[in-house]
């Protein structure tokens, strides 16, 4: 097909073969996120020791963008500290809402997602995994 599509290779690759799928047996942290507009759901389970994300799995009932975002996120946050992961999440969220075209280096691997930011209706799809991540970070603080 020659039509230009928002579904580029890297995105589709993550959507078709998502990384770190499923759920951890006995996670240290667990959060779910829900998209009321379409009913999509996501569950994130994390194994954390000494503040470092040792393992991470996402169980997604959602569209390809939601799936790809979860897959990319898991790639990015593994071996990072929870604080670092939360920071990335905040920067990512900002890059979706700001007009700013400069993308921070730490988000390099998320470019295929950020490229879709003008599709406002899909932002919630992208954000689902990150919402769950921020929820986990909050749980950890209290």
């Amino acid at each position: 097909m020659t039509k230009p599509s928002i579904y580029r290779d890297l995105l589709l690759e993550h959507a078709r073969h998502p990384k770190n799928c499923g759920r951890l047996e006995s996670p240290d942290l667990r959060a779910t996120a829900f998209n009321p507009l379409c009913g999509d759901e996501l569950e994130l389970t994390l194994a954390v020791s000494e503040d470092i994300i040792q393992d991470c799995k996402t169980k997604v009932r959602g569209c390809s963008i939601c799936q790809a975002s979860a897959s990319m996120m898991s790639d990015l946050i593994l071996t990072k500290t929870l604080q670092e992961a939360e920071k990335i999440s905040k920067v990512f969220t900002e890059s979706l809402t700001k007009e700013n075209e400069v993308i921070s280096e730490s988000l390099d691997s998320l470019r295929p997602l950020i490229a879709l930011k003008k599709h406002r209706s899909r932002i919630k799809c992208m954000k689902l995994a990150w919402d769950a991540l921020e929820d986990c970070a909050r749980q950890n603080q209290t």
Partner: protein, 423 residues
């Protein structure tokens, strides 16, 4: 492009159809969400604001007289459109949702007692569910669900079985349960099911149960006749019948009108205001607090006249033809699951489906890349979607201006989805 005679005639009336989407002509197939506007409706708005704009009722100067006339003439046009004997039964609201909330607050809430039941069907839109939930909760009442047929029973998949309804009513009588209302849609915004309202009302009334009809989908798709249907309440939205946003209609039968408490308080709905208490204007003004959407009423009037000129019968016929074509094309593929009746006699041109193993969001997004607008999600019917065992679906819904080539385009573009998402 293959056009039915109607389509050829009307397409030029809709300016938005000239728009290109990603280099393709717009194929707008989301008419169940909202319809596009013919030029006469847009012109009416412009004309109002450029010539007659003023507040109504309390002004004696020329513009105010004109605006008042526009507003009250609109009421009469709408009354005729739905077969209401007089315009005094027509209340203008902001939409179907507000119309239904009005009845929930001003009519059922004050009379609802603990243990009472309101019957709804499993195919209702959230706007015809949540208002009743809210009303029920404050008084200890509950919702009773009239289930849809899922197996291919005699009424077909996604239909309502009248016998089941009679049984529900009889069971309620046996245990002396008060059934205060049946709230039912005339046409499902997901399944496309056309419900036999006249028969349903007859059964309900024979058990003393008033009926509210959600005509949000029906009003643009078939002739409506509240006198023949004999329903107690009927609600619809301007924006779904080729009129402007911000305007809706509520029809109320006289007996019910008399039972209704005020809805919102404010200017225009009062008779006398004292320091602690007030008295109310007569219906329909009693239920129209605040400056009404006069321009929107003028636009709605233009839409109703436009539809009446074409004829609701002809519009219905056109939709049947499109639906027939779509049903035939859908049957070609075994990875397409269509929800709702297969029988053309019990459905209209709202078709929800899923492409196996592709998420509805992704289907809709890929279709957009070819200029096709369809909706993906639960279409404000989470209860129905749960019943169908799905989370979301893709919905294609027809309007006056659609043609069979647009359906064919959609079907062929589904191939792109398969290629992208299913290896």
């Amino acid at each position: 492009m293959q056009n039915s005679p109607l389509t050829a005639k009307v397409r030029k009336d809709f300016p938005i159809l000239k728009r290109e989407i990603h280099g393709h002509p717009l194929a707008y197939l989301d008419n169940a969400a909202t319809t596009q506007k013919p030029k006469c409706v847009i012109d009416a708005l412009v004309n109002f604001y450029e010539k007659h704009n003023s507040n109504i009722s309390r002004g004696v100067y020329t513009l105010a007289e004109e605006a008042t006339e526009i507003y009250e003439d609109g009421r009469e046009t709408v009354a005729k459109f739905i077969g209401a004997a007089d315009s005094g039964k027509i209340i203008f609201s902001r939409g179907t949702t507000e119309s239904i909330n009005l009845i929930a607050a001003a009519w059922i809430q004050p009379k609802l007692k603990a243990g009472d039941r309101i019957i709804v069907t499993e195919m209702e839109h959230h706007s015809n569910l949540v208002p009743w939930q809210l009303a029920a909760q404050t008084s200890g009442a509950e919702l009773l669900y009239w289930p849809i047929n899922l197996e291919s029973e005699k009424s077909g998949i996604g239909s309502l079985d009248l016998q089941k309804f009679e049984e529900m009513l009889k069971d309620a009588t046996k245990i002396k349960q008060g059934i205060r209302l049946l709230a039912v849609t005339a046409v499902s915004n997901v399944l496309g099911t056309v419900n036999p309202i006249a028969e349903i009302v007859k059964i309900a009334h024979s058990h003393g149960v008033p009926v509210l009809v959600d005509a949000a989908q029906a009003a643009a798709r078939m002739p409506i006749d509240v006198a023949r249907w004999d329903c107690d309440f009927l609600a619809f939205s301007g924006h779904k019948i080729y009129g402007p946003t911000g305007i809706g209609v509520l029809y109320v039968k006289n007996e019910r009108l008399e039972e209704m408490q005020p809805f919102q308080g404010g200017g225009g709905m009062i008779r006398q205001v004292n320091r602690q208490t007030s008295t109310w204007a007569d219906a329909p003004q009693k239920f129209e607090a605040g400056t009404p959407p006069v321009a929107e009423v003028y636009g709605l009037t233009a839409a109703v006249e436009y539809l009446s000129d074409i004829g609701m019968q002809e519009i219905q016929q056109h939709e049947i033809e499109l639906t027939n074509h779509a049903l035939k094309r859908f049957a070609e593929f075994n990875d397409l699951e269509l929800y709702g009746p297969q029988d053309i006699n019990s459905r209209s041109g709202v078709l929800s489906f899923n492409l196996r193993n592709v998420h509805p969001h992704d289907v809709a997004q890929v279709l957009d890349e070819s200029g096709i607008g369809v909706r993906a999600g639960h279409h404000c019917t989470q209860v129905l979607h749960k019943r169908l065992g799905i989370v979301a679906s893709v919905r294609m819904s027809f309007g006056l201006y659609n043609n069979t080539s647009e359906i064919d385009l959609l079907i062929s573009e589904l191939d792109r989805c398969r290629q992208l998402f299913i290896e």
